[in-house]
Symmetry: C2
Subunit: 177 residues, 2 copies
């Protein structure tokens, strides 16, 4: 499917509410459970998404618009949320994500992007040359991937509880999804 | 994590609203897009979940309570939704799923299940002996898996649009999740 800005905004605007429905007032054990080792819990994912609003998507769009390929994006710290969200209740993080996302979409609207600007190019510190359209499509795919991750992490908590049904459930069954 | 009925009910009760937030009034192309071949669209998944409410979870719990292992469950038709939902708008399916789920949870509450009943046994037509607790845990994991599937199918629609970011997005990148 081709990237369309209005459709992307439609999907991006729903993510905070999706996470709120999934996680708000859920028993704490479900919010903080992870997949073992260094893997992330639903709580960590929400912190990561907040950090993305602050440093990744709109800031990078601005760099493309203002500097083109001349200035590489600031690398994104994928682990910043562990420091910043420590000890805060999930309800507070969900509210903060919703507020940050509203601000991001308002800032995006103010840029009044035209379809032909989607091919403007910027420089990713690892991936090299990328377009504004690719950046914004990635914002959408990143949201969808991380909400899917929340569901997978939750699903896995019943990996044993489902007994022999495990073989019918690829997500429970070790697929990293 | 051990199965707990109250937690299961808490999660099961949220699924209709999660799907409504994700899919209601979304552009049609996103609701009906699939992963190619015989794969399912978000629309198909909602139809499948409705069918499960009608024939799978609570009906099977009743079979365990009434017949124990003596009577095997009726096999579940994983493709029934293609006939039953044909041509109906997604908003109608989302409402129907919400109504069916409310009925299922009301029926479950009426059974007044006690923790010790979770080890009661029934017979699955393919898996053999299973417990009531495993059936109910599978109901939860099945919900979470299929919502994750909806997100994966949507995410994949931007498989090309994300350009070089594809390598950072396992869901876009061919992982069946």
């Amino acid at each position: 499917m081709e990237f369309q800005l209005e459709e992307a905004i439609e999907i991006l605007g729903r993510t905070p509410e999706t996470l709120r429905v999934l996680l708000k007032d859920l028993p704490e054990a479900w919010v903080t459970a992870d997949e073992g080792g260094d893997s992330w819990s639903p709580y960590d994912v929400v912190g990561h998404l907040i950090h993305g609003e602050e440093t990744d998507w709109v800031p990078r769009a601005r760099i493309i618009l203002e500097h083109g390929e001349a200035r590489a994006f600031t690398p994104f710290d994928r682990f910043a949320q562990f420091e910043k969200s420590r000890g805060r209740p999930i309800a507070e993080l969900l509210d903060e994500f919703a507020a940050r996302r509203r601000e991001s979409l308002a800032a995006l609207a103010e840029l009044s992007l035209r379809p032909e600007q989607m091919s403007l190019r910027g420089t990713h510190p690892e991936l090299g040359s990328v377009t504004l359209g690719e950046l914004l499509a990635t914002w959408v795919a990143h949201d969808l991937s991380h909400v899917a991750q929340v569901l997978r992490v939750m699903c896995r908590q019943y990996g044993e509880a489902v007994g022999p049904w495990k073989q019918y459930l690829p997500l429970v069954n070790g697929d990293r999804g």
